[in-house]
């Protein structure tokens, strides 16, 4: 019920956001390419229905992924791929600095979120994390992962420090250390078991690859030591891969 409310309030926010957007003044630029093609939708598959020439003024209404919705002087509205707008000019004659996302934005990232899927000691694991970059090499991460196995499920929350070896490479290995807690819940079909919460420490290594825009691929291996209340500590190996986005 709570998340239904959350979704409803988010939808409300989105509507309010768009209502505010309708009043907004739009950026005007001058076309510097020989011509631009207006598509009927934000995708290469949508047909071109209008062409505007060099020197014409256009208004940039909004942006979705790599497409700009523009309005030309004669009133037509359509979608233009950002590559056709890279050489447009601002009203002061200066080249319009197109906010296209690239590797330099990746290098300057501060925040990152991601989701990975893999194997946690034989169980399926879905893990999400949020990360804050402190220096190009160093970042702190908070992970929440849920492993669903045959005999038990577990939820793990850990704090990690990550060292990225080559921050200026598109693909770079990294090492990580961390600790946290793990809550293990045996399956309901098993008898005479209880939930337990233990501390966990981990070390790991992985590789991250910058793909495109805000998209990063990430694959990693982590080894965990669960400090159980029994005589032996438990060791759990984890492999997973997934995607993340940076801001």
């Amino acid at each position: 019920m709570r998340w239904v409310l959350l979704v409803l309030s988010l939808s409300q926010l989105a509507i309010a956001w768009n209502a505010a957007g309708a009043e907004r003044q739009h950026r005007e630029v001058t076309i510097a390419d020989p011509y631009i093609e207006l598509h009927t939708g934000p995708g290469g598959g949508y047909p071109v229905f209008f062409v505007a020439e060099r020197g014409e003024q256009i208004e940039l209404l909004m942006k979705r992924t790599e497409w700009f919705k523009v309005r030309v002087a004669r009133g037509q509205e359509g979608w233009v791929h950002f590559e056709q707008l890279t050489t447009t000019l601002n009203p002061d004659g200066q080249p319009f600095d197109l906010p296209a996302l690239g590797f330099s934005d990746y290098e300057a990232r501060r925040w990152e979120v991601g989701a990975l899927y893999g194997d946690f000691g034989g169980a399926n694991v879905i893990a999400t994390y949020g990360s804050r970059t402190f220096t190009p090499n160093l970042s702190g991460e908070m992970w929440v992962s849920q492993a669903i196995g045959r005999f038990s499920d577990s939820t793990m929350v850990t704090l990690n420090i990550v060292h990225l070896m080559y921050p200026d490479w598109r693909a770079s290995p990294y090492f990580t250390l961390g600790g946290g807690v793990i809550k293990t819940q045996p399956k309901a079909t098993l008898v005479a078991t209880t939930d337990r919460t233990d501390n966990v420490a981990l070390a790991g290594a992985g590789v991250r690859v910058y793909l495109t825009r805000r998209f990063v691929f990430r694959g990693e291996y982590k080894t965990h030591v669960v400090f159980t209340s029994r005589n032996d500590n438990e060791e759990v190996q984890e492999w997973k891969a997934g995607f993340s986005f940076f801001f």
């Binding site: 934000p42 979705r64 992924t65």
Partner: protein
């Protein structure tokens, strides 16, 4: 002695006076340079405030429909979704939903036997999926109106809580996004949720088909 002090004081006054005098001279010089030059390049720099461009890559909304929970009847499901559009093709979606399942045929026929408690009968799920807009298109309504559409394939992993346990779930399906406005979309989705369940003693793979309609807002 006194005269010496006097001389010192005098000297000091002179020095200070001289310094301020110098300063005044400099001031005068400075004023001289501010006189209008012969040619005045009167070019006012056009300071243009560039409005921010509205980027709308996120999508949030609600969904409702029917889910067929294997052995437990067809039930009304309601939920929400949140998506981020990475490229014109790919998007990542986070979705969650819940449904109250009904009695199995066995429970109905036997009368008294109950397999699950009321709490265990609740079916809830969340998942993280990757979608791809495979067929972008347009729908034409009458002579003058068009609506952009995107048919997408989607698949991902998640968790289903049902019959007292969490179950790792794979989901995949097909959906269509109709866009009456640039910021408003109507979704029609058909999704299969697959998980293993050992409720009836033997482990089996359960397929749970879900058909939903939804509304989302881009922001």
């Amino acid at each position: 002695m006194e005269s010496r002090v006097l001389v010192l004081l005098l000297g000091l006054t002179l020095c200070v006076g001289g310094l301020t005098g110098c300063a005044r001279d400099r001031l005068v010089q400075a004023e001289d340079t501010t006189q209008p030059p012969v040619i005045d390049p009167d070019v006012a720099r056009r300071d243009i405030e560039v409005p921010r461009i509205d980027t709308e890559d996120f999508e949030v909304g609600i969904l409702a429909g029917q889910i067929s929970v294997e052995d437990f009847g067809v039930n009304t499901v309601a939920g929400g979704r949140f998506a981020y559009h990475v490229t014109e093709g790919f998007f990542v979606e986070l979705a969650a939903g819940r449904a109250d399942t009904e009695l199995t045929s066995f429970e109905r026929l036997s009368g008294a036997a109950q397999l699950l408690t009321e709490d265990e009968r609740e079916y809830s799920y969340y998942n993280v999926s990757l979608g791809y807009n495979i067929f972008p298109g347009e729908h034409f309504i009458g002579k003058n109106r068009t609506m952009n559409t995107q048919t997408y394939v989607i698949g991902g992993v998640g968790k289903t809580t049902f019959a007292g346990d969490d179950r790792f779930t794979i989901n995949f399906g097909l959906g269509m996004r109709l866009m009456p406005l640039d910021w408003l979309a109507v979704h029609g989705d058909i999704r299969d949720h697959v998980f293993d369940i050992d409720l009836l003693g033997q482990e089996k793979t359960s397929h749970n088909f879900e058909a939903t309609l939804g509304v989302t807002f881009f922001f």
